[in-house]
């Protein structure tokens, strides 16, 4: 009997695609679905078929659920700005969300991502400068040659030991920049993607039994992307900023290595300083420079925070999809961690 319902619902697809505006088309799709359900139930009464009646009842429950989701989502969209302003004023007393345009929670998350991006790009530049200063000296060799013979000395070669950690830090900060960029891109497209496309199509598809799976998935994606993901980014930013304040971590490297100089050996008889002493002094400056702190901060503020936010998003999609009428395998999304 379900099959009969299937064919009746099929007609609704073609009719409901006509109106303009997603709210109108969603409402019309729901009205047509309601009409079809009542037809099926009437058929069940007329033919004294319990199967038809049961199918109609089942579809009626799904219809009510869709209606509730529609109303809940519209209510949540309408009130999220007030909610996020209230939460932000408590969590971030120095931030003024009134100046941020709606949707405030997403635009605030965009703002946060742009700040992080700026911090991380500056940090990468600082690591490059530091590396340049060190490499300039570590590769410096002093040579002396005659017509047939000569020798070369590289007294500060030991500085090269800093190159590998710096490369590793640069790779880490580079990965953080990439992560923050992907986060920023996702946040930028979210209002358009969710409000104009995913949610309207989700509601429309969920109205009908044949497309309920995809519709339910789209609704859980819309809910997760629009509400949970930006709020998680804001939350994680609050957590990491608090940690940064408590630990006194600085997001930038505060060391000046521009004056590090490896002096040559006293071959020409000039009065240059003892190279060993200079090298020790320069090494001490570099060791004292806290460049791992800012890199660690970049790591937890971007990759760690993004990882947690995505995990929550994935878990939510997995958990809520059942409620939205779809059965999804969110582990596929989690596999992305391996690729990333």
């Amino acid at each position: 009997m379900k099959k009969l319902l299937f064919f009746l619902l099929l007609f609704a697809l073609s009719f409901a695609a006509q109106p303009e505006g997603w709210e109108v088309s969603s409402i019309l799709a729901m009205l047509i679905a309601a009409l079809l359900i009542s037809f099926v139930y009437a058929g069940g009464i007329a033919f004294e078929s319990e199967g038809l009646k049961l199918a109609a009842k089942h579809e009626a429950y799904e219809w009510i659920t869709t209606l509730l989701m529609f109303a809940l989502f519209l209510f949540a969209v309408a009130t999220i700005d007030q909610f996020s302003t209230g939460v932000a004023s408590y969590w971030f007393p120095n931030e003024n969300l009134n100046a941020i345009p709606a949707p405030k929670h997403i635009n605030f998350a965009v703002n946060i991502s742009e700040r992080l991006l700026s911090e991380q790009a500056t940090l990468l530049g600082q690591i490059a400068t530091l590396s340049k200063d060190i490499v300039d000296e570590s590769t410096k060799s002093f040579y002396c040659s005659a017509i047939y013979a000569g020798f070369s000395l590289n007294p500060c070669m030991g500085f090269g030991a800093f190159s590998r950690p710096l490369s590793m830090y640069a790779a880490t900060v580079g990965a953080s920049i990439a992560t923050t960029n992907s986060q920023l891109f996702l946040l930028k497209i979210t209002p358009t993607f969710v409000l104009l496309i995913v949610f309207p199509l989700g509601i429309f598809m969920r109205c009908f039994a044949i497309s309920r799976g995809l519709g339910g998935f789209l609704l859980s994606l819309a809910f997760g992307l629009y509400f949970v993901y930006p709020l998680m980014i804001i939350f994680m930013y609050g957590v990491t900023t608090q940690y940064q304040t408590e630990q006194g971590l600085n997001p930038t490297i505060n060391v000046d290595t521009s004056n590090i100089e490896c002096k040559g050996t006293n071959i020409g008889g000039s009065a240059s300083a003892d190279p060993a002493y200079d090298a020790m002094d320069a090494t001490k400056t570099m060791i004292d420079a806290n460049y791992s702190g800012p890199v660690f901060l970049a790591l937890i503020k971007s990759m760690f925070s993004e990882g947690i936010s995505l995990l929550v998003l994935i878990s939510l999609i997995g958990a809520s999809s059942k409620a939205f009428g779809a059965e999804v395998y969110a582990f596929v999304l989690a596999q992305l961690e391996k690729i990333a």
Binding site: G21, S25, T129, A170, A171, A178, S182, F193, S211
Partner: protein, 362 residues
Amino acid sequence: MTCQVFTPEMLNMGFVYSAMAVGIASSAIMISIIYMIGKITNNPKLDVWAHDELPQLFFSALFAIFILGFLNLGTMYKASALSELTNFTVQNGEMCIYDYADAYLDDMTAYVHNTMRITRIYNIMAGFISSIWKYECKSVWCFLAGQGVGLNPDAWVSLISSVLNAQAYTTTVALLGLLAQKYLLQSFMNGGFLLIIPLGLVLRSIPFARRVGGVLLAIGAGFIVFFPTLLVIEGLVFRPEMWGYDNQDVIDYLTSPGGLNIDEKDPYFKGGLEWNIFLFGQFDYFFKEDGGRIFLCKNLGPPWVNPACSVSIDRLLAYGAISFLVSSFLLSLNFIGTSAGIIALGKFLGEEIEIARFLRMV
């Protein structure tokens, strides 16, 4: 405008119709015989079985009409139909969904490929520049003997390779992901239509093969309807150029004579190394750190001021991140969405489809 990727004419409909007709007719005969045997032998089990199978046969015939009608409808299902359901204006909306999905994958493949090329150029230049050593003689007798200093001033540039190596890997995976989706789309549009759907319809009309037929129909319809629909949904918004992340200008600038003029195909590329560095101690290409950002630049000649520079490393990383999103991330979303659609459709057709293993495999 008709579909370029798929046209219903590709189907050998005569064969499909006749095979289905044979399947349905033979099933009807078999059901009648079993019903008669049930009556003759007074066996209620056979009687019930025949009663259950008859409506299924009827629905199989209706499914066939629906699916075949839907295939024709699919080629008329335009991307612009989505703008009627949403508030979004669809560009190139006259394309049918299959062509639109295919064109979107092509656009993204071009984007990811550009990112790969830019990353490769930066990596090549970083490796090249970081290997240049300079020697400076500090003696007036340099042509006979002397003392001086040798150094590798741009060795720091090698850390750019450390940053971009991961991106080279990620963009390669991203490109493969897009090509895999394109292959999947094309194969289901052609092979899927030609094999899975007709086979599913025929099997669905045979009582003992009904379960297999239902599964084939659900999977076929899932990949033919839900998968391209998801691609079209993404193609409306997940376009880097819409959000200021286009990279075509960047690759053009890097490779064109009016820009940095880097010939990525020349294995002996020296970039003015021979004369400029010898006469002026200045290599044409270099990485510059400016305002906290690192740029690839080219000197335009003496007096070595106002170099031409391409995008910064962090901008290039943004291209890599978006390449990852539009490929690997969306690939997973598409599989999740398609599988959700298939599972629900399978349940509707009366089959529990275990698609998790297939997804794990993919």
